[in-house]
């Protein structure tokens, strides 16, 4: 079915080019827009993309066709986005920090750089959470750190992929606290949560949107949220800084275009993004999914991606998390 819609939109695109070489930015958009999601259908990035598309369609008066190109931790989709025609008819979702780290951790093989993308707007910033099962003896980061000091490397912590935001957050915490943790890699949140609740691992590093419901139910206790201030969905969970561990970490989802899109189209899409993100219905839907909004537009968003990439690169150069 998706192929059909892709084929139709491609056919429409070809028609559009043949028939409307006059179609300047003023008429934008005059045909359906492709929205590339670099993760699988049904995942949290995909869900957010489809909700965004629903509201953006109202603003633009054109269909937005979500196309999933999952693989290689987002790389396949971003390479596709970077190489697509910069005419505003292809928009993509980009996920931080992966979109920033691939270009230097996979320097030999990677097919895009940040310069190939034109950041449009950040939508969601989902802070990292370090959590333990409800029956764990640890009530705070300090107690956990003491346990690790007593028996180095004995404490197992889950993460959902090497070099992903969970792994980087836990690494950051470990180096801030001066401890060594025993990292266990899991494929996604479900397996990691099951292992935590079953007592197979000692602690869980994930994102707030995934952990909030379990923290709310009381079967999981959040030791720290890696954000600047406490989050509304989990007000009882203190930040790392409150407990003396200055760690900030999150996973962000935003929108980007291939570099080289005409300025009028770019400005128009920033305005569309702004109206969607400020739409109370959109806000309410994301709230249900525990996805905290963190709007940043255009240059501001680009600058934050750039800065984040530089600081991650500095960490990598000093102490790479993948052995070269």
């Amino acid at each position: 079915m998706r192929l059909l819609t892709t084929t139709t939109s491609t056919a429409l695109a070809v028609l559009g080019v043949a028939w409307g070489s006059q179609a300047w930015a003023a008429d934008y958009p005059s045909k359906p827009i492709e929205m590339v999601v670099a993760y699988g259908a049904g995942g949290s990035t995909d869900t957010m993309a489809r909700i965004f598309a629903k509201y953006a369609e109202e603003e633009l008066g054109q269909r937005m066709v979500v196309v999933n190109k999952p693989g290689a931790g987002g790389e396949l989709g971003w390479v596709y986005l970077a190489n697509s025609e910069p005419d505003g008819y292809t928009i993509g979702l980009i996920n931080s920090p992966s979109v920033e780290t691939h270009p230097f951790t996979r320097a030999d093989t990677v097919g895009y750089t940040l310069n190939d993308l034109l950041p449009l707007a950040n939508v969601v910033t989902d802070p990292g959470v370090l959590a333990v099962a409800a029956d764990s003896p640890w009530q705070s980061l300090d107690e956990m750190v003491q346990a690790v000091r007593a028996e180095p490397r004995s404490v197992t912590v889950s993460h959902e992929g090497i070099g992903g935001d969970d792994h980087l957050a836990a690494l950051n915490f470990a180096s801030t606290a001066g401890i060594e943790l025993n990292f266990v890699s899991f494929n996604g949140n479900a397996e990691a949560t099951a292992a935590l609740l079953g007592g197979h691992i000692d602690a869980f590093e994930g994102n707030m949107s995934e952990a909030a419901s379990h923290i709310g139910e009381g079967d999981v206790r959040g030791l720290a949220v890696w954000s600047g201030e406490r989050m509304d969905a989990i007000t009882d969970v203190p930040t790392g800084a409150e407990q003396g561990y200055e760690v900030i970490s999150s996973a962000s989802r935003g929108l980007a275009l291939p570099a080289g899109v005409p300025d009028e189209v770019y400005q128009r899409l920033i305005e569309v993004s702004r109206s969607v993100i400020e739409n109370p219905e959109f806000v309410a839907e994301l709230d249900k999914l525990n996805m905290p909004l963190d709007p940043l537009y255009g240059d501001e968003y680009a600058a934050s991606l750039e800065a984040s990439q530089q600081s991650l690169k500095a960490v990598w150069d000093k102490n790479p998390w993948i052995e070269p």
């Binding site: 079915m1 998706r2 192929l3 699988g40 259908a41 049904g42 995942g43 949290s44 995909d46 869900t47 489809r50 909700i51 629903k54 196309v67 999933n68 190109k69 999952p70 693989g71 290689a72 931790g73 790389e75 396949l76 390479v79 951790t105 996979r106 030999d108 093989t109 990677v110 490397r153 004995s154 197992t156 992929g161 090497i162 070099g163 025993n182 266990v184 890699s185 899991f186 494929n187 996604g188 479900a190 397996e191 949560t193 099951a194 292992a195 609740l197 079953g198 007592g199 197979h200 691992i201 419901s213 379990h214 709310g216 139910e217 839907e285 249900k288 999914l289 998390w321 993948i322 052995e323």
Partner: protein, 497 residues
């Protein structure tokens, strides 16, 4: 009890019933087409459910889910082109039956078995979901390691005719399972810098290649194109299995439904493991194990009861703990949260009405696909009368579409074509393809869980036998390996004496 009546009333409204029928038909179609997985079917429905009331949304998603697992059996039996990995084990005996002109009967049994397995698992979900959900938590990396080994042991059952060739095929599958980024160190293994291979060799294109594309090649080769239609000409018209056959399969149906429900509860274990373990158990307990793989109706029953029992099983941890049992139910969770229902205990208190409506609608969906299946069966069988010259290209077309649709990557289409050639020659030289697929599915489960267990136990190998559940699974594996050998030895001795 009141809540069940309310739920029943919710399902019995005209709109709900229409949704149910549409969802069931869509699911059957998704399951039957190669490459359109259950996950994709449910994911494609999510945007449609945005604007629906929560009860209707859940009815739609549930119906698509359970009927897509059943739908895979039809093409697996008639064309040996399983739509999803869940139906590979069904093809092992279903296709030989179709070739012998008993395709409708095989579909009939597959339908009854799917209904049986589906109903058992929904009843389990309805009655004892909360206590059973603890199974999902009791299984740690050590236990998953044994489960994967147990699954690999079933390969022996699948290939008992040609053990060496079967083990070779499995070895190739295990080697392919090594491809991709190492999830513990991030190192690239055999990826040749191809980012399409970073997540490993994708399963679906391999499956489509080995089974569907190779079948298309088979049909295109003149000397072989007659195989399928010749048998189908002799088709006697019986679409309901003999009562004697059903009675003979009752124990297998029961056993497979239990296996399916339990494997379903385990996050990340997978539908095909349940089907293969059940198939192997049915063969082990059969008085005529030598008939398996040649058109034994009990093999079809075992596989189909198990794979549909998985559907209810996967919903148990999803609804009670908020831990999705597989990729489909992970998509389900997305669908639930959009409607403000956060999976977990509150589903049975705060949102009890919607939750029970879903469960009751699953009972309906199971019955509905069975009725539709039995009714459409005789029409579906006529597909085998289509000449190979037409059927082959059609299968090829769906294979290309299916392998592309997974990630919208041409790479995957070439992969499917490559594996189609491999599958074609494997079949000619009598290497079974199923062990390759089982090994490709189980290899990564075995590897990551072994390494997780090693890290957690600080490289102490005894962890695999010192945990009670681990030890029990270990003994199961030993039994599964030793009993057939011992039986054969006893048989040989009684023959020589």
């Amino acid at each position: 009890m009141d809540i069940l009546v309310t739920a029943l009333a919710n399902v019995m409204t005209p709109v709900a019933l229409a949704t149910l029928v549409l969802g069931t038909l869509a699911g059957m179609l998704v399951g039957a087409l190669p490459g359109l997985s259950s996950t994709m079917g449910v994911a494609l429905c999510i945007p449609i459910t945005f604007s629906m009331p929560p009860e209707l949304a859940l009815i739609l998603l549930g119906a698509v889910y359970v009927s897509s697992v059943y739908g895979g059996s039809v093409t697996a039996i008639l064309l040996r082109t399983p739509g999803t990995d869940a139906s590979i084990a069904t093809a092992l005996d279903g296709y030989p039956m179709a070739v012998a002109g008993r395709g409708a009967e095989a579909i009939g049994m597959a339908t009854l078995a799917s209904l049986f397995g589906g109903l058992v698992s929904v009843v389990v979900l309805l009655a004892i979901a909360p206590p059973l959900s603890t199974i999902a938590l009791a299984f740690g990396p050590q236990e998953y390691t044994w489960l994967a080994i147990f699954g690999l042991v079933t390969i022996v059952g699948v290939v008992s005719e040609r053990p060496v060739k079967g083990v070779l095929s499995a070895a190739v599958g295990l080697m392919l399972a090594c491809v991709g980024l190492d999830s513990f160190t991030g190192e690239q293994r055999f990826t040749f810098g191809q980012s399409e291979l970073f997540d490993g060799v994708p399963l679906l294109p391999v499956l489509i290649g080995l089974f569907s594309v190779s079948q298309a090649f088979n049909l295109a080769v003149p000397s072989q194109s007659g195989v399928l239609s010749e048998g189908a000409q002799r088709f006697a018209g019986r679409s309901f299995p003999l009562w004697a056959d059903i009675r003979r399969c009752l124990r297998t149906l029961g056993r497979s439904s239990v296996i399916g429900s339990i494997v379903g509860i385990l996050p990340g274990a997978g539908t095909s493991i349940a089907a293969f373990i059940s198939y192997n158990e049915a063969r082990r307990h059969s008085a005529h194990p030598e008939r398996f793989g040649k058109g034994e109706i009990e093999g079809v029953a075992a596989s189909e009861a198990a794979n549909n029992a998985v559907t209810g099983g996967t919903l148990i941890p999803t609804l009670t703990l908020g831990i999705p049992g597989n990729a489909v139910t992970a998509v389900f969770v997305g669908g639930l949260t959009i409607h403000g229902m956060i999976p977990g205990p509150s589903l049975f208190t705060q949102h009890a009405e919607s939750t029970y409506t879903l469960i009751v609608s699953l009972l309906f969906a199971n019955v509905l696909f069975a009725v539709l299946g039995l009714w459409l069966c005789r029409y579906m069988v006529s597909v085998t009368r289509v000449p190979g010259g037409v059927l082959g290209p059609l299968i090829l077309l769906f294979s290309v579409v299916g392998s592309y649709a997974l990630r919208n990557e041409m790479f995957d289409v070439w992969l499917a074509v490559g594996f189609g050639l491999l599958g074609y020659f494997m079949e000619r030289w009598r290497y079974p393809a199923a062990p390759l697929v089982i090994a490709l599915i189980l290899g990564p489960i075995l590897e990551v869980n072994f390494r997780r267990a090693m890290q957690i136990a600080q490289w102490d190998l005894t962890t695999f036998v010192t945990r009670p559940l681990s030890l029990a699974l270990c003994l199961l594996v030993v039994l599964a390996l030793v009993v057939p050998v011992w039986r054969r030895w006893r048989l040989r001795r009684s023959l020589t004496l």
